[in-house]
């Protein structure tokens, strides 16, 4: 089954409930606070086709209301080289 995970060269630090991610060795550091951190965590934790449902459950939202934002955000993380998708 395919899944998202931190890309090779991506480093992640969590401090005070905020996630920070960076591409090594040049940066920059990206702050994943609030819902951004929730999306990252859910993207890296389970079936990629159900990310929207999991984020909706955590944020008490309706999946259809947040689908476009969540999917475009995950795409952006992949585009920036922070997340990659591959076989588990």
């Amino acid at each position: 089954m395919s899944a998202y995970r931190p890309a090779p060269g991506a480093a992640v630090v969590e401090e005070d409930d905020v996630l920070y991610a960076a591409i090594l060795p040049d940066g920059p550091i990206v702050v994943l606070d609030g819902v951004a951190g929730v999306i990252w965590a859910e993207a890296c934790d389970g079936d990629p086709t159900r990310i929207v449902d999991r984020v909706a459950a955590v944020t008490d939202s309706h999946p259809d209301d947040i689908r476009a934002e969540v999917e475009s955000f995950v795409d952006e993380l992949v585009r920036r080289g922070l997340l990659t998708v591959g076989e588990r």
Partner: protein, 289 residues
């Protein structure tokens, strides 16, 4: 998602800094040990004190290669080995994302040849994960010794490290540290930190450790450096550097690269300050007679 230079806590930035430097070292096959700050075992730093920069001890033969790689990846030279400290041991870089990095080509207080000393520390290294990247660090015993030696040239909060790393250590741990002091030939610096420095009055580096641990004028520091040099050639290099302007320091004081005129002006101002210091010292010594 936001990219910010101001909202990232220093502790986070430092962890990424360690990871970024290790990433580069792995890519080009450079051996280095992460020391001080974030890399210290929590057993030795029960109170959070994460420092303000990333410190690494680099295998001396690999320093030039790491320097080239760092500069290719956005690390700007901030101060040089020549002007960074009385020991000439570290060079500082600054990166827009990661902050400050000190690369050490040897550790002050260790008199064993730097390559052999690195081998000794490298042999007992352990791997610790920083920001998910495996970073080699010295053994806990070696970390304790490095903290103590570092405290020996500090009159600030680093002195607290002596309490945890040495005074409160078990007999067994103390024995291990003393054994490493002997292996690395570091008795004078060690004594400067834990007490008993006067036992080493006859040693060439006694005066330098006296000055850095207890304070002294710039002239006293320079003479101490000359006396501490391990060879005549090294002593000559120290003397030759003495009249040079610390361009790094001048640039930071001005907030920009100094002009040739400013360097020349500083060149003539420094001997005047040194002469004034010497005059004060002479008057002090005359007053004691």
């Amino acid at each position: 998602m936001s990219e910010s230079q101001v909202s990232v806590p220093l502790s986070v930035r430092l962890r990424f800094g360690h990871a970024a430097v290790q990433h580069l070292a792995d890519e080009i096959g450079v051996d280095l040990l992460h020391i001080k700050g974030m890399a210290v075992d929590p057993e030795l730093r029960p109170v959070a004190h994460r420092g303000s920069d990333v410190d690494v001890l680099v295998r001396p033969e690999h320093v030039a290669r790491l320097d080239r790689e760092l500069r290719e990846h956005g690390w700007r030279l901030y101060s040089t080995f020549e002007f960074g400290s009385p020991f000439g041991h570290a060079q500082t870089y600054l990166h827009d994302a990661w902050g400050y990095l000190d690369i050490h080509r040897f550790f002050p207080g260790i008199r064993l040849d730097p390559s052999r000393a690195f081998d000794r520390l490298w042999a007992d290294r352990v791997i610790t994960s920083i920001a998910g990247v495996g970073c080699p660090v010295p053994s806990v015993v070696a970390q304790a010794l490095l903290l103590v030696l570092n405290a020996g040239r500090s009159r600030g909060p680093d002195r607290q490290d002596v309490a945890v790393a040495w005074r409160d250590a078990s007999e067994e741990r103390r024995g291990q540290i003393e054994s490493l002091v002997a292996d690395l030939d570091a008795p004078v610096a060690f004594a400067a930190a834990v007490g008993g420095l006067e036992r080493y009055r006859g040693q060439r580096d006694y005066r330098l450790w006296k000055v850095v641990s207890e304070g002294g004028s710039r002239s006293e520091e320079w003479w101490a450096r000359v006396r501490a040099a391990p060879s005549l050639a090294a002593a000559v290099r120290v003397v030759a550097l003495a009249p040079l302007v610390n361009v790094d320091h001048l640039a930071h004081r001005l907030g920009r690269q100094p002009t040739t005129f400013e360097i020349v002006t500083e060149f003539f101002a420094r001997p005047a300050r040194a002469a004034s210091e010497a005059g004060r010292a002479l008057r002090r010594s005359g007053a004691r007679r």
